[in-house]
């Protein structure tokens, strides 16, 4: 029965070959680890502490999911297949090498069929690897998508990993050419190459010598690549899995961390490298420069100065350039914000989370951006429009700069009168939100919402002037103090009211009420988006429809409802229940494209842009076949898209409808 021969063809008069192999490989590994330590230690030497060691079982699962199986990498077909072909092949090669060591030193098991299977799997992955490399070459040197960094460092890595595999293949093929065993079929790739050497008619001695050359070459290229790993683009092999392991677990995506504190209790506003946490610095080193975030970013697509990939790489480059100065404590390290990352870059973000969703190694762009915005706000570096909005929010509790007494003006004519949840008990507290309350163009929709609720006999009330802006986007602007003030005011009004569930039409309010408001003394409230409530009332028969609308519509996922809170199906079920057919836009659900208003962008000066995200979205919708309506489930979306339909001149082709308008019409 065949058994694996260790160190076949290596002259034994050199001494034990394993001695060379272990010396070289352990030496390379030590150098690699030391160089990696030099690099990685900057994270905690420069960055501030942050606890990311809890829930180890979930962290290990994340590592398996994102670094081994690579589910996020696989979200995009071509680059996904390309990458896993290479990565999985290397996992198998690594495992294969480990198994031979076990076989050699501890437990002999590579005989007969096990050996054939072992050889076969390794050879098949050699072929898979070469397919992956072919795809990478085509992508990098022919397709050249804009989002890729076309840097020689990547070419070096690609060459090295290919040379290693080809070296292994050559070694195997020379051995097969000499041995020509009956089971050569179990190494299909090696056997094919071996035919070449057999065809040359070279003697066994010559081929054995060539085998030796190939073997040494293979050994040295592996060692060289390992040594170079921590300073090249292959670093992500280590940092990617680490980043997945240390991913944010303590809070949902929709919850931002409060401003970090120094040991003395002073607030830390992120303006310098050392203000970022070690994990935020690790984000920079984990970035693979794949550019998926860049492709997904609405601010980048609009032509603003923000490119999420460049932003994260700015952090990385700053760490490389300035770590020594920071650690030397001589204070001449340049600021991150202002010097390495322009203010306009930070203000361009809509906090839509598309970059975070797209990132295969779980980089947390938005949290870092908000941290840096907090610094800008505390310095008073806000544009005039944003300043007006923030001042209004501080003074009147709304961004419109209108009296708080006017908040429920829209409800004046509603009959029967909408209950005041501060005075009488209700089942549902309707948190109306700023736009639905104050924007004159939205009054009709707000009234229809009230009408639907009343027709469905929903026991609901509102807070009247007790309601303040929820603060979701105030927090994302970076005005944490104002956010806290708004939360306090709303909590005061909420704690005075008796209700079971909060319902809101505004995904932004929904997000912060659900994730960022501490539950009050009456226990936790449930927070629902109106799409969820409508869905529930339709299912229970509380809402009955009298007609089928028969429109062909498309649905836009609001970022804070979809990506942030995973509510994708409820609004779609509601639309279908009204008898409309949904045609999906190419960018839907997790890949939904932001309207451009989030993260406080709606309050800021627009700056120079090429195409508004909302216009890009409308153009996407009108390209669909025969769609009459663009359905939204967010008051700001109504405003944003109604404008975009006008500015793109598509009034003839499509109209913007709020979900409630469909429900109202079908009732």
């Amino acid at each position: 029965m065949p058994e694996r021969v260790n160190y076949w063809g290596i002259p034994h008069d050199w001494g034990a070959p394993e001695l060379y192999v272990y010396t070289i490989m352990f030496g390379a590994a030590l150098i690699m680890l030391y160089r990696f330590y030099l690099r990685a230690s900057l994270w905690w030497k420069v960055g501030r502490p942050e606890a990311r060691w809890d829930k180890l079982h979930i962290r290990i699962w994340k590592l398996i999911q994102y670094a081994i199986v690579q589910t996020k990498v696989l979200n995009q077909r071509y680059p996904g297949v390309m990458h896993v072909a290479i990565a999985w092949a290397y996992f198998i090669f690594f495992l294969g090498t480990a198994l031979t060591t076990i076989h050699e030193r501890f437990f002999k098991f590579l005989f007969g069929n096990v050996l054939f299977a072992y050889k076969f799997v390794l050879d098949v992955f050699t072929i898979i690897f070469l397919v992956g490399v072919g795809m990478a070459i085509y992508r990098r040197y022919s397709q050249k998508p804009k989002r890729l960094t076309l840097d020689p460092g990547f070419t070096f890595s690609l060459v090295m990993i290919t040379v290693i595999v080809l070296g292994g293949l050559l070694t195997e093929s020379f051995r097969l050419a000499v041995e020509q065993p009956a089971w050569a079929w179990s190494s299909p790739a090696g056997w094919i190459v071996a035919q070449l050497w057999i065809a040359t008619g070279a003697s066994d001695a010559v081929l054995t010598n060539w085998h030796l050359v190939a073997w040494i070459f293979h050994l040295l290229t592996v060692a060289g690549t390992i040594i170079a790993l921590p300073v090249g683009t292959l670093l992500h092999v280590l940092t990617g899995p680490l980043n997945a392991f240390f991913a944010k677990l303590d809070r949902p995506t929709g919850e931002l961390a409060p401003i970090p504190l120094t040991p003395d209790g002073d607030q830390i506003y992120a303006s310098k490298l050392s203000d970022l946490s070690w994990k935020q610095l690790l984000d920079g080193d984990a970035c693979t420069e794949c550019g998926r975030c860049q492709d997904a970013c609405p601010a980048h697509a609009a032509g603003t100065p923000l490119n999420p990939k460049e932003l994260i790489l700015s952090v990385r480059d700053a760490l490389r350039a300035d770590a020594a100065a920071v650690m030397g404590g001589n204070g001449d390290a340049p600021d991150l914000v202002g010097e390495k990352i322009a203010e306009e870059v930070l203000w361009s973000c809509t906090t839509c989370g598309a970059c975070v969703e797209a990132c295969p190694v779980l980089v947390e762009h938005v949290d870092t951006i908000v941290d840096m915005r907090r610094h800008l706000v505390i310095e008073g570096a806000v544009d005039a429009e944003l300043q007006t909005a923030l001042s209004n929010l501080g003074r009147y509790g709304n961004s419109f700069g209108k009296s708080d007494r006017m908040r429920a003006r829209w409800a004046k004519g509603v009959d029967p009168k909408v209950k005041d949840a501060g005075r009488e008990q209700v089942e549902y507290l309707w948190f109306v939100g700023d736009y639905a309350s104050y924007s004159p163009t939205l009054t009709g929709i707000t009234l229809k919402t009230a009408d639907v609720f009343q027709k469905a006999d929903l026991d609901f009330g509102i807070l009247y002037k007790g309601e303040n802006h929820s603060g979701n986007d105030v927090r994302r602007v970076g005005e944490e103090g104002l956010f806290e003030m708004l939360v306090e005011k709303n909590l005061k009004a909420l704690s005075r009211s008796k209700f079971e569930t909060i319902v809101t039409t505004d995904p932004h309010s929904y997000n912060t009420l659900k994730h960022e408001y501490p539950a009050n003394g009456n226990g936790e409230w449930k927070v629902m988006h109106y799409s969820e409530l409508l869905d529930q009332m339709i299912a229970s028969g509380q809402i009955k429809f009298s007609k089928k609308l028969g429109y062909k519509v498309t649905y836009h996922d609001p970022c804070y409802l979809g990506r942030y809170n995973g509510v994708y199906d409820a609004p779609r079920r509601v639309i279908e229940a009204t008898g409309c057919e949904i045609v999906e836009m190419p960018r839907n659900r997790e890949d939904g494209f932001c309207c451009g208003a989030g993260g406080g962008r709606i309050w800021m000066e627009e700056g120079e842009i090429e195409e508004r995200p909302s216009e890009s979205r409308i153009n996407e919708a009108v390209a669909l076949d025969g769609v009459d309506a663009f359905v939204v489930a967010c008051p700001k979306d109504v405003t944003m898209y109604a404008d975009a339909v006008k500015t793109t001149g598509q009034e003839e082709k499509i109209i913007v409808k709020d979900l409630i308008e469909l429900v109202h019409e079908a009732m």
Binding site: A384, Q387, S391, G394, R395, S403, E480, E484, M485
Partner: protein
């Protein structure tokens, strides 16, 4: 070191609908919300800008009105070194003569080199504070100032005139300047900074004594503008319009 004093006051916030009190001679204070006089806010900003540029000390002084503490702490967060609240019978509103006298008394004690205050306010029924203050202190007054720099014991001020004209003049200190606009719009102060000031800074309270409102005017009646169609548009060239105007003035007996 230049000591800059900035007297400020709160005025009715026009975001709210104004209502006339039962007396028929004043605004109904129960429905009134007060906000810092916009021009005073510019005066604070200008003072802070001067301090940042050429050093000095800034004192912001204000009458005790509802919500004034927030305004003073905000001023401190912007960089004011001292914040003073005048204690007296200000709640029900007073006139600018009395206010200017109270500011003047405080200024005599503090001895500022320069006083910056808003050039006007929306509740100035008896003239604006600045000129009275200058009169009571015997200082020079220049109004409609939109920028200045300090040179020793002189200030070089830019005074705005209608039609976009700007005059630059030299003023000997001490002086009172009525600020039309600061060189830069008033800055934003993060809420947490103001809250921190509330913990760290303290407001000095100064007794304003009995308020002397003499010299002011007495309101006999206050009412909201009535909607009516009484406007007549005069058409023609300048000569014709002037001629028509004269005719109308004669008709109604004012000429």
């Amino acid at each position: 070191m230049t000591h800059i004093m900035v007297p400020v006051k709160l005025v009715p916030d026009l975001v709210e609908e104004l209502e006339i009190a039962d007396s028929g001679t004043a605004l109904d204070m129960t429905w009134l919300r007060l906000i810092i006089n916009e021009f005073d806010d510019h005066a604070i900003e200008q003072a802070i800008l001067l301090k940042e540029r050429s050093g000095g000390e800034v004192t912001v002084i204000a009458p005790d009105q509802e919500g004034m503490d927030d305004v003073l702490f905000t001023a401190a967060a912007k960089g004011a070194d001292r914040i003073i609240k005048l204690i007296g019978d200000f709640e029900e509103g007073t006139n600018n003569h009395a206010l200017a006298r109270a500011f003047a008394d405080a200024a005599k004690d503090a001895g500022p080199d320069l006083i910056l205050t808003g050039v006007q306010g929306n509740d100035d029924l008896d003239g604006s504070v600045g000129p009275y203050l200058a009169e009571y202190l015997g200082m020079t007054y220049v109004g409609y100032v939109a920028g200045l720099s300090l040179e020793g014991d002189k200030a070089i001020v830019q005074k705005e005139y209608p039609g976009g004209l700007i005059a630059e003049m030299e003023v000997s200190l001490p002086a009172v300047l009525g600020i039309q606009a600061a060189e830069e719009p008033p800055r934003y102060v993060a809420v947490s900074k103001v809250r921190q000031m509330m913990k760290e800074a303290s407001i000095d309270e100064v007794d304003a004594g009995d308020l002397d409102t003499s010299g002011g005017l007495e309101v006999s009646s206050m009412y909201l503008p009535e909607a009516a169609e009484r406007a007549e548009m005069l058409e023609g060239d300048e000569e014709e319009i002037a001629a028509k105007l004269v005719e109308i003035f004669k008709e109604i007996g004012v000429m």
